[in-house]
Symmetry: C2
Subunit: 344 residues, 2 copies
DNA sequence: GGCCAGCACTCATCGGGGGCGAGCGCCAAT
DNA sequence: ATTGGCGCTCGCCCCCGATGAGTGCTGGCC
């Protein structure tokens, strides 16, 4: 009818934009009167009602009940962020401030502080998927803790340190441990553990029996250490979401949401999606396919090391969030994290 | 009057006990009728009302409003747990099951799994204060990551591994790094960093300039690593508290509570209190002096290594919790943790 | 054809009032 | 000392009517 081809003319777009903005700002359904006041257009509420009716027909807005104003539907939000939204990038000064907040002691702390950064700045929940790591190692070392208890220290190719305790059948002397470490360090540094396993079998047939036992234990532990620390997601600032009345009105939903946070693997799947594409991605409401998130949006951006995407940062907050603020924050955080990781 | 000297005769105690038990069981104020039915005594509601009035006078119970039953006051709970409560210890089989749940890869994981254990078993929040560690080291190592970026690996006396990256002014050769590490390992293993600092100054005046720079950096980093990892509190299962209606009715209180969880230092102070005494300790309501906890109880027990208390485990839940279940769980967890740590 | 003032209509929200029921305190009787 | 009985107090729930925000529609104007 009025809006042919389901296309929005300029006026309708402007009205939708101000409607979404106003709703995001104060959380109340916005009516025709408010819209006529704030749109900048010189239209009476009555005319605006016509446009609103069209927008409702097209599924961009809806009214929670008969005599309330309209609120954006997920589709309305989608259109808003895709074509209506104007983000103002952060300025240099702010960026520099942020950069100072990132701890670069080691990867764990770096990731944790990035997550905190996100949650502090947005006052929502911050999430960071820990960087994928190569399976090789840079340095390995055995340290005798007690009889038959050996501490394995493993420095990954990325310069992170893993450690675990190995229970052995036999007792090893310190020098045997050093020797074993030397063999591994000199011949196999940089290789994956699978590869090492194959080559040790092939090349070191002559190695003493008890030595190869130690090797096997080390390799198994190494495998496990690598696989355990595979990919994880670090969340912080969940508390912030308790204050959001959009979410905390439904106690059960809120609990579902927090349960989701404990379910790392599900979250991981969602966030990994985002690491396929470049740049900031936004999941609105149930778009992610997870019920607990149906009143939430997830804003994500991948981060990279040496040009390769290795993980994802993101923010989880209510669908009614200030996207124009959150988007640049997530964007910048991803970039800062990238450069902090590339540095090492 | 009836109850002289503020002492409770047997009947009053029995009634108080069943009242608390019933209230804990179903969360409703319990009235005289219910009490007459469940106490086992053959008394009419009217007689019971007399006793209840006395109990109220003495501050053990109170009614939330005129025509509701009575609920225990903090003082009532206190008396209940101190003298009325009968805990049934867990049996061997259960303990063995629990023991299997504790990961003993390394201290961090051990502590984390203890915390999970507590929250899973009680369905409340589990807390563990990480073990105090001596400030000495067992082994130290430098690894060159890049020009002027050195990875410091530090094995504590307890066999835990700390690591951090040192930015240096000068470039060091791998052999210089090995040499530096050797000096430290051979001469100073087991000493505190303060002590090392003094002795290095005194004994190694002749050490080359750039070498002592490296030493200083290492010592500073070591100090920092030790102090950073000083004492921390690991919380898990906060989500469980969302389901407790005693707590989640007051949204603001709930938020305060969760904010407290983020405020590690405050929690630490509370939990450290507990590590003064032996055995299980219980803080009821505001006894800890923290408003956010006024509807909560904290059940704690210290754990030890070689007979010395090094930390605390605990459970935070609503005051209306099944103490007879929680207490042995906390107790056992502390003991399991003690032995798991002593093992290493 | 676009715009708009006016009007009837809907419906969530809020405050007040009445019935209900749980539980208590008191008292007189045993 | 114990107990049945009685009156009383409140919290809870439901109903109701007033209020007000916001809509859809209509008819007239440019």
């Amino acid at each position: 009818m009025a809006q042919e081809f389901h296309a929005l003319n300029e006026r309708a777009q402007l009205l939708l934009k101000t409607l979404v903005e106003r709703y995001i700002a104060d959380g109340q359904p916005v009516g025709s009167r408010a819209l006529s006041k704030y749109s900048g257009l010189d239209l009476s509420p009555a005319s605006i009602r016509n446009v609103m009716a069209d927008l409702e027909d097209m599924g961009f807005i809806a009214s929670p009940h008969t005599s309330a104003g309209r609120i954006p539907t997920p589709r309305g939000y989608r259109f808003f962020v895709d074509t209506l939204l104007t983000v103002k990038p952060l300025d240099r000064i702010e960026i520099n401030q942020l950069e100072g907040q990132l701890q670069i002691n080691n990867t764990q702390k770096l990731v944790a502080s990035a997550s905190h950064l996100l949650s502090d700045l947005t006052r929502f929940a911050g999430v960071v998927v820990t960087p994928r790591r190569s399976s090789g190692f840079r340095h390995i070392e055995f340290l005798k803790l007690a009889e038959k208890r050996i501490l394995l220290i493993l420095v990954t190719a990325e310069g992170d340190v893993q450690n675990r305790i190995i229970q052995t059948d036999k007792t090893y002397t310190p020098s045997e441990l050093v020797e074993a470490a030397n063999i591994l360090n000199q011949n196999y540094a940089g290789c994956s553990f699978d590869e090492i396993r194959r080559r040790v079998h092939a090349e070191l047939k002559q190695v003493q029996e008890h030595m190869s036992q130690l090797m096997a234990a080390a390799l198994a532990a190494g495998d496990q250490a690598v696989s355990e620390s595979a990919e994880d997601v670090v969340i912080s600032g969940e508390v912030n979401l308790l204050g959001i009345d959009d979410l905390s009105s439904n106690m059960t939903k809120l609990r579902d949401l927090f349960n989701l946070f404990e379910h790392r693997s599900t979250l991981l799947q969602l966030l990994d999606h985002s690491s396929r594409a470049q740049g900031v991605q936004i999941f609105i409401g149930g778009e992610a396919g997870l019920q607990p998130l149906d009143e939430c949006s997830v804003v994500t951006a991948p981060y990279e090391v040496d040009g390769k995407i290795v993980g994802t940062v993101g923010v989880i907050g209510p669908t009614r969030m200030a996207y124009e603020r959150v988007i640049p924050i997530v964007d910048i955080t991803a970039k800062l994290l990238s450069s902090a990781l590339t540095l090492r």
